[in-house]
Amino acid sequence: MSLPVARSVVLALVRLSGVSKTFRSLQGSDYVAVRDFALNIEAGEFFCLLGTSGCGKTTVLNMIAGFELATSGSVEIAGRPIRSPGADRGVVFQSDDSLYPWLSALGNVEFGLRMRGLPRAERLDRAHRYLDLVGLSGQGHKHPAELSGGMKQRIQIARVLANEPQILLMDEPFAALDAHTRAAMQRELMKIWRTTGKTVLFITHDIEEAVILATRIGIMHAGPAARLKGIIDVTLSDSERERTDDRFIAVYRRVHAMIRDEVAIAMQRTQ
């Protein structure tokens, strides 16, 4: 009898249930970003949370990261409630202003390890290993300002991976990159995900990006008071994750059909 319950507890690394988040504006009026939101992220999967702008997808990520606390409901990782940020959840931000410009690339990558008191030799060893993994071998001495936008995002990814968290939380990490760099970074990220087997929650508003990367795509209703509208499994092989592939296009159409109305609603509400 207890088996199904036990199984789902083991499988769901991150579990949100009945989560609501209300922001109070300076004028005192309330804005409900998400209401009664539920989501399970399983260990090892690449989950894309797809939604229109302003639908509250970043709010969901921020609650899992521990930057914001849910107004009600429960947010858990590995069965423990999330009350603050922690090294078990690595966050990759859209903006590179989260990097430390006074530190070298290497200094940025080993930052978390240094804060957590790892010995220097081990820190450097790990930092170099992850710089290699993201394709920045031999660039560790450079400072962020000397690196391109794509390379800065690689540092962010290496910095989080070096910490060896349970889950990677990525908040539109490639949205500010040009199209070519973005495509290259998506391929890199796929490779890294396959090498490390990390669980990833990836936020995006780009259907194509979601279909290229995800093993599951969660589509959100338009905000405010948003919930998950549906989840689409993506069972494409690596060779099928190409914009021109027929099966890719089929998945794209399914996702598009689900989000199309939400885009229209979001457009109306912002006008």
């Binding site: 990261a65 521990g66 930057f67 603050s84 940020p85 922690g86 090294a87 959840r89 690595g90 966050v91 931000f93 903006s95 202003d97 989260s98 990097l99 430390y100 410009p101 006074w102 930052f111 978390g112 240094r114 804060m115 957590r116 400072h143 962020p144 300002a145 000397e146 910095r159 989080v160 910490n163």
Partner: protein
């Protein structure tokens, strides 16, 4: 290497043109004993350097600036960090900073002399006074300019709140602190000369005042020249400090 040579060359040409312009203005345009050409001023400077008065007065002024500036910064930086970090501290201290910073140090000279005498005490007090508010305000501004993502990233990389302060908020604020100190350094030069003109027993300001009594125009110009050079050097040192630490990313200068 090539770039620093070019920079040095630029400075040399700049200074040479300054002196050339000064020479032309003094010898050909005005031709007055009241405006000595650079040659005469430099000759006078060598004379004053040899008998020791120039060194002594410059040393006294620099020492006052140095000490006051050091203490002013040492007081200002932690206060600025606290004001920038905690709203309650800001509310408690803003009446002091926002009230006192509009009373210029030069207006405090008389009070300072009455309180601390004509010697070092009043001068160092005035330099501290002129330094501290600028450093406080720019440090506090620097703390509030740290982007939230930097703090959040550190927290989710496993840094404690104390570590966030030491390893993120503080280094991110350093360029602002240095900029505040650089502005304060300029003010210190203004203040020390004003204070020494009004009441002092030594210093470059005193040297100008004494020269005025005996109409030693050359000597006045020596003091002015030295002031300019000292100020220029001090400012270059600061800019170099800002560049060395912050130049790689966001120099706020």
């Amino acid at each position: 290497m090539k770039r620093s040579l070019a920079r040095l060359g630029g400075y040399l040409i700049g200074f040479a043109s300054l002196f050339a312009l000064w020479h032309v203005a003094s010898v050909y345009l005005l031709n007055s004993v009241l405006f000595p050409p650079p040659g005469r001023v430099i000759a006078k400077a060598i004379e004053l350097a040899q008998d020791g008065t120039l060194w002594e007065n410059a040393r006294v002024s620099l020492e006052r600036i140095g000490l006051g500036f050091l203490f002013g910064s040492l007081i200002g930086i932690p206060l600025g960090l606290a004001i920038g970090s905690f709203a309650i501290v800001r509310r408690l201290l803003e009446p002091y900073t926002e009230f006192l910073r509009f009373i210029p140090a030069t207006a405090m000279i008389t009070v300072a002399v009455i309180w601390f005498g004509i010697g070092e005490g009043s001068k160092i007090f005035l330099i501290i006074y002129t330094t501290v508010f600028i450093v406080i305000i720019s440090t506090a501004a620097g703390v509030s300019a740290v982007t939230p993502n930097k703090i959040r990233a550190a927290r989710s990389l496993g840094a404690s709140r104390a570590q966030v302060f030491c390893y993120v908020a503080f280094p991110a604020t350093v360029p602002y602190i240095l900029t505040g100190m650089r502005l304060a350094m300029g003010n210190s030069f203004v203040t020390i000369i004003a204070a020494e003109l009004v009441a002092a027993n030594a210093g470059l300001g005193k040297m100008i005042w004494d020269a005025r009594l005996y109409m030693l125009v050359d000597q006045i110009f020596v003091a002015l020249l030295v002031l300019g050079l000292l100020g220029f050097t001090a400012d270059r040192l600061f800019r170099w400090g800002i560049y060395a630490f912050a130049g790689r990313y966001s120099p706020v200068t």
